[in-house]
Each structure stands twice: as C-alpha cells, then as structure tokens.
Amino acid sequence: MSTLPPVISFRDVCYAYPEAEDYALEGITFEVPACGTEIILGGSGSGKSTILKLILGLIKPESGTVEVDGADIGKMGEDELMTVRAKMGMVFQEGALFDSLTVAENVGFRLRDKEQVSDEEFAERVRPLLGFVELDEFYDRMPSELSGGQRRRVAVARAMAHRPELILYDEATTGLDPITASTICNLMVKLRDLEGVSTVLVTHQLRDAFQIAQEFVFMRDGQITYNRIDDLNVLDGVEFMVLNEGRAVFRGRQKELWETDNPYVRRFLS
C-alpha cells in the first residue's frame, strides 16, 4: 500500500439532491492514495456518480468533508475550485463531448482555453493524445461522426490532455460492446501504470472492474506489454467500494469482495 498522502479523502460525507426526500449519499468515508485505484460499484441510483460530482466540486457535501490533495473543496469558491480541477480529468458516461467542436478541439479544449497555445503547438500536443487512444485519423471529425466507443476514447484523451494527477471515470464502458469496453479499460490501465495517474472508476460492469483491478501494463523494449494478475492475494493498490441506496455496504480488496457475506454484495456479484 502507498505511503504517500491520499489524493482524495472522504470523511462521513452526506448529500441530498434539492427537492429529494432521501439522502443520495450517507456517511461515506474512504481515501484514495496517490497512484491508487478506487472502484465504486453499485446499481443505478446508488449514489456512485454523486461521489464523482463531489470530488469535482460540482456539488457541495451537506455534512462531512471532501478533500482533494489535502484541501477541503467544500469550503472553496468556484475560482479556487478551478485550480483543484486542473489536477483532475473526468470521463463522463456518454463522453460529454462538445458537439460544436471537432475531435481535436475537444481534446485540446483546455490547451486553447487556459494556455492559449499557437495552432502549431496545439496540433503538436493534441496529435500524440489522439495517438494514445488510437484515433489519429479522426483529428478533424465532428463528435456526431463517431461511434459510442470512439466518443469515450476521445473523452479519455480530453481528460488526460492537461496531465492530471487523478482521472475520474463515470460509467465509461456502459452501453459498449465487450471488445470496445475492453479497449477503454486498457486505456485506463495504460494511463494509471504508464502515466502514474490515480483512478476513481464508477461502474456496474463487473467484468470491466475486475479487468482494471487485475490488469497491469509496462514497457518492454519500447513496446507496451499488458499482463494480468490472477492471484488475488498479491493484488495491491486497488480498493473496491460497493454502494447501496447511498450507503457503502462494502469496502476492501477484490479478494475480500469475493469472500464477504454481505447479502447485497453477494447478490450484486452473482
């Protein structure tokens, strides 16, 4: 387990959406260490995406604290949050690409907006990002011309464009065929292992969650090599959390997940 301070820290966080009678999240506590992976599982409406919105500061907790790199984001104004968000990337459920911009403009949105780079530098920095997600030839295409999987890959490239320390994935593989979903998972693993990016993944796709937990990637002779740990006893750095109706009913490693006797988790895994 990493000895570095946590990138994200939730302490007894509660949140209810306006006009909702029940809490969307209740008493959530967890930490994500630097370069760690947190996989949040749960059914629809269990509060998974709400956790990501809280991390980004898009909503504020009603009680408890949410810290990113030691800073309490619940107490920050929108301007301060922009600085914190610069350390994060987010991949939304359907990609959330800007319809009116090309693929390249989407990927380089932050470069144009925050760094005002020249056209040459823009292309120099965006092309490798599109190469990373293997969509070089889609540079000038519009999002409407892309398939669902391609949109998610562009969203991954956009999220990594400013070299974030942390990437949040909101159901990034939901609704995709198994092969495309596996490609997206490979990208997540590649980013985590080769770029040292901490990962928070929200999903209800068990197959993808376990792929990210067990797969690892390294460079050998200039080639990217994928491998998989099948012995759950040695699997390290990946924590699972299972949510049910806004409460965390399980938190631990994959091996403990399989061994838990919590009835909801058992039903979820079956």
């Binding site: 919105k53 898009l58 987010m90 932050r110 907006d113």
Partner: protein
C-alpha cells in the same frame, strides 16, 4: 385547503428562487467582463448569429410593419386632410415603439429559443459539467458573450428595422397613396427628435438583455432530459415576450418622465 396553501407557497418559493438565480446569472454574466479571460471570439461569433442571422427576418418584419402602418394611418389622416403627415406617423411609431418591440420579439423567437435549446442540450448531455470539470466557467464562456452580443446587436437590428420600416412606408405612400417623395421624407425626418432616438435605442438595449438572459437562464436550468429542453425552449419565448411587452410599458413611463421635456 392546507394542500392548496402548501402548493401556492411552494410555487411562490420556486418563483423567488428562479428570480434570484436569474439575477445572479445576469450579475455574473456582466461582472465577468471586468476580469480575464474574456472570450472575444465567442462574442463575435454570437454577434454573427444574432445580428447577421436575424437580418432577413428583422428587415421583413420592419418592411411590412411600415407598409401596414402607412395603409392603416392614411385612412384616418385622410379624414382630416392630413395625408402628407403619414411619414411623421410612420417614423415616430417605428422608432419609438414598433421597431424596438417587434425586432426584440422576433429575436426572442429566433435566437432566445435557440440559446435555451442549445444550453439545455448541453446541460442534459453533461457538456456543462464537462466544461466545469475542464476548469472553464460556463457563465464566462457561454453566457457573457451572448449577453454582450445581444445588448450590442439588437439595437443595431432595431435601427435597421426602423429604416426599412420607413422605407416600406414610403413605398406605399409613393405608389399607392400617390404622395410626393419629398412630402413623405420631409414629414418623416422633421418629426424625429433626440428624445425619440434615445427612447428608440434604450429600449432595444434592455430588451436585448432580457431575451438573452431569459434564454440562458432557462437553458442552464433545464432538467428532465430532452423533454426538459423542449419545455425550456418554449418557456424562453413566452417569458421573454411577456417581459419585453411589460418592460416596454415601464420604460415608456420612465423615459417620458426623465428624458422628454
């Protein structure tokens, strides 16, 4: 009875909350101009959408309004033997009232609804959240350029509409009513005073702000998927139109009181 009271109180609370959000959005939209980053390219793009995009519809509206005004008023003026004054009637009506109001109503239907639909779609497809996640303030990037473009372009469109309306009036006066060209234009131009121009330019500035602010507010507060986008679009046209007509009355009172001698 209790249910009715609760319902009314809930509705009242929601209305007050909406007014508060609308005011905050307007305030932040304009205050953003004081500090960088300022999105001038987006502002010019929106000026193109609002100004150039609405040119045809605004000119047609002005033309036919001027023509109808001439036909209608000539009958009344003839009864007093005052047909040569038809130009005066058309120019003052267009500049003080019909130009600003009709231009703004047309832009509300064409552009305000489009803004509500565009921003509403961006909300339901999480593009607004994505923008915030990428460290960009959506109000600064999307609302401020639209507000500036609306406040600048609607007065310009109004001036064009006034001019085309007077031209339409002239065409009818010259070729249907057989009025001499110099009679029409002399009467039309002599009637216009500085106070009329102030009234004719202050109104579209306020209306421009209302059309854009309502469209942006309803777009950004869209809830409930694609159905919500439709609701926001329709409401933006209805609310902006009512606000234009209501504020027109109060602006008339204010300007008549403070500007006219």
């Amino acid at each position: 009875m209790e249910a009715v009271v609760n319902g009314v109180s809930e509705r009242l609370k929601r209305t007050i909350l909406n007014i508060q959000e609308f005011t905050m959005l307007s305030y932040r939209g304009f205050v953003n101009l004081l500090t960088p980053p300022r999105y001038w390219q987006d502002t010019f793009d929106m000026m193109d959408v609002i100004g150039v995009g609405s040119l045809t519809i605004v000119c047609l509206t002005g033309l036919f309004t001027g023509m109808v005004l001439t036909v209608q008023s000539s009958a009344t003026l003839d009864a007093f033997g005052a047909r040569p004054y038809v130009g005066r009637m058309v120019s003052l009506s267009m500049i003080r009232e019909l130009g600003p109001v009709l231009t703004s109503l047309m832009v509300a239907g064409r552009v305000g609804s489009g803004m509500a639909a565009e921003l509403g779609s961006m909300v339901v497809t999480q593009q607004i959240d994505a923008m915030r996640a990428l460290g960009t303030d959506p109000i600064r990037k999307l609302v401020t350029p639209r507000l500036v473009a609306g406040v600048v372009m609607i007065p310009i469109l109004t001036i064009l509409s006034d001019a085309v309306g007077m031209l339409g009036g002239f065409l009818v006066a010259r070729f249907t009513l057989r009025l001499a060209t110099q009679f029409y234009w002399h009467s039309a131009m002599d009637a216009i005073q500085m106070e009329d121009m102030i009234m004719g330019l202050v109104k579209p500035v306020v209306f421009g702000y209302l059309v854009v602010a309502v469209g942006c507010h309803l777009g950004l507060s869209t809830r409930g998927g694609t159905r919500g986008v439709g609701v926001s679009t329709t409401r933006s046209v209805v609310i902006a139109s009512v606000l234009i007509l209501a504020s027109d009355y109060f602006l008339n009172l204010l300007i008549l009181h403070f500007v006219y001698p």
